[in-house]
């Protein structure tokens, strides 16, 4: 069985995106039986500029796992300092054998084909690798895979329910919470966890009165900016990211003011 046979066909969203970008080629491509894996490759290869970033955005925002690759298990003895790790990724149990040096980020990307989590700086300074570990946002680039035995990891690939986007994903699209899309998986995972932290009444450095803990925290833009400061966006989409999070947090549409961010 080759890899193409395992991959699902294009989703409606993807067909639509393709149609918008390359209307004359759509029928031919679908007739030829192009699948998602080809689709994403094609979108990246088709040219620079518009198509390249559109496809990056498509991969970040609409991303869902490709057909799972059966994990290759090794005897830990055959890898120097090999460690067997059993953990849950996006709800599914996984068993991997890793070199003790392998980070959770590299394990997700290189061993499990979950390339949504991005390696930006690899030093805990940018937040592009943010995933949710046992319910909390963490940096997967500074987490050893070996230390994740028995833990539960949620990555950007597990944020949507099937094709039903998470409200934070919908809001990022609505408010243009990205340009190049590279930091977006980390931004979204961070924002999803942030909303839970606010529900718990967790404080931040800009919280007015730390001694008062009265139920869920209502977050101002200043609060959201402070709480999202671990996620850097080189394109500077910050006002849009903050607006997207604020809409989901407050349940109300947010007026975007380009002067007062």
């Amino acid at each position: 069985m080759n890899e193409d046979d395992q991959s699902p066909q294009l989703t409606e969203d993807e067909k639509k995106l393709f149609e918008d970008l390359m209307p004359e080629d759509l029928a031919e491509i679908i007739d030829a039986g192009v699948n998602r894996r080809h689709f994403l490759k094609l979108m990246t290869l088709t040219g620079g500029g518009m198509l390249a970033w559109q496809s990056a955005v498509a991969e970040q925002v609409l991303t869902r796992p490709l057909a799972p690759t059966p994990p290759v298990t090794f005897n830990p003895e055959t890898i120097e300092n090999g460690v067997n790790v059993a953990l849950k990724i996006n709800g599914a149990p996984q068993k991997v054998t890793v070199d003790s040096r392998m980070t959770l980020l590299d394990t997700l990307r290189e061993k499990l084909d979950l390339t949504g989590s991005k390696k930006g700086c690899d030093h805990g300074q940018c937040g592009a690798c943010t995933v949710i570990l046992d319910g909390r946002r963490v940096l997967s680039c500074l987490t050893l895979a070996a230390s994740c035995e028995g833990k539960s990891v949620k990555t950007i690939e597990g944020i949507a329910q099937g094709n039903q986007l998470h409200p934070v994903q919908t809001a990022f699209i609505k408010y243009d919470g990205f340009q190049c899309g590279f930091c977006t998986p980390g931004q979204i995972c961070s924002a999803v966890a942030l909303l839970d932290e606010a529900k718990n009444g967790d404080a931040s450095y800009v919280t007015e009165d730390l001694r008062k803990k009265s139920g869920p925290a209502m977050l101002s833009k200043e609060e959201i900016r402070e709480r999202m400061s671990g996620n850097i966006c080189r394109c500077g989409a910050y006002p849009n990211i903050v607006a997207a999070i604020q809409e989901v947090h407050s349940g109300k549409a947010v007026e975007q003011n380009w002067l007062l961010v």
Binding site: N81, A146, L210
Partner: protein, 331 residues
Amino acid sequence: MRPFKYTNAKDVPSALKLAAGNPNARFLAGGTNLLDLMKEDVERPDELIDITRLGLTQIKATGSGGISIGGLGRNTDAANHPLVRQHYPLLSQAILAGASGQIRNMATNGGNLLQRTRCPYFYDVAMPCNKREPGSGCGAMEGINRMHAIFGWSEKCIAVFPSDMAVALAALDAVVKITNASGEERVVDFADFHRLPGDMPEKDTNLSHGDLITSIEIPKNNLADHSYYLKVRDRASYAFALVSVAAAFEMKGNLISKVRIAMGGVAHKPWRAMKAEQMLIGKEPTEANFKLAANAEMADAKPLEHNKFKVELGSRSIVRALQMALNGGKS
């Protein structure tokens, strides 16, 4: 990263035994600083002992009215614990001023105290650094030293200690409880926990190999009504301090009866501003008195080529932090 053996400690005795058996082993808790330094080839352990499953995460009131914070609890949990927020808001604020939400979810309270300096010459293995490689020289002394120390430095090292949490703990007279490799417990005053560089900048603290921080204790105090942690940095959030000030005081009538001031970003350890504290005892909390005390403290500063601004900044930051503390943390 160099190869290392990963071992999982099941309980405190087994962690201590594993450490005692290998002088090149290191404990792994949050890993946010250690793994980064291993990627940079600054730290080179051949074994990591994972101590995150030992427990030691509890936060509870002590018999004497203080609080005990588990050494392996996460920074986020310490900052948000109701007892800490209610009675030690200075500590909550300092923790929340540090790093990012993600890093505070990973970093442990003990590990926070053991993070290394972010001096770029320490991080760059192509540069000389007495802290990384004793005897190799100090790249920062003749280099770019804008972020470096103005108090307590030596010819060997001008690096600053980066933790915010530790600055608040210094102000709150905390003690650190430690179990050594043979299982013996000891209690170290916070002032004696970290070191000034002197002739041995490679030693940040007075811990020995195999020492495990089991908890941090803060005695009961009445500083919560008037406390504030001010952090001044190059960007609004997620950056190390140029200067930070933990300020807290207690009033009797309209006079200051007890005061604690500690500074970050100015020395190789949290810097208690004892001179300023002494000048404020028995005084009214006025801007003029704050300024006199701050200027007296900063008069002893010895700035380097690129950080002369820290003297005036330090002085103004002390005044500002005391004013915020006076107003219950509000400007």
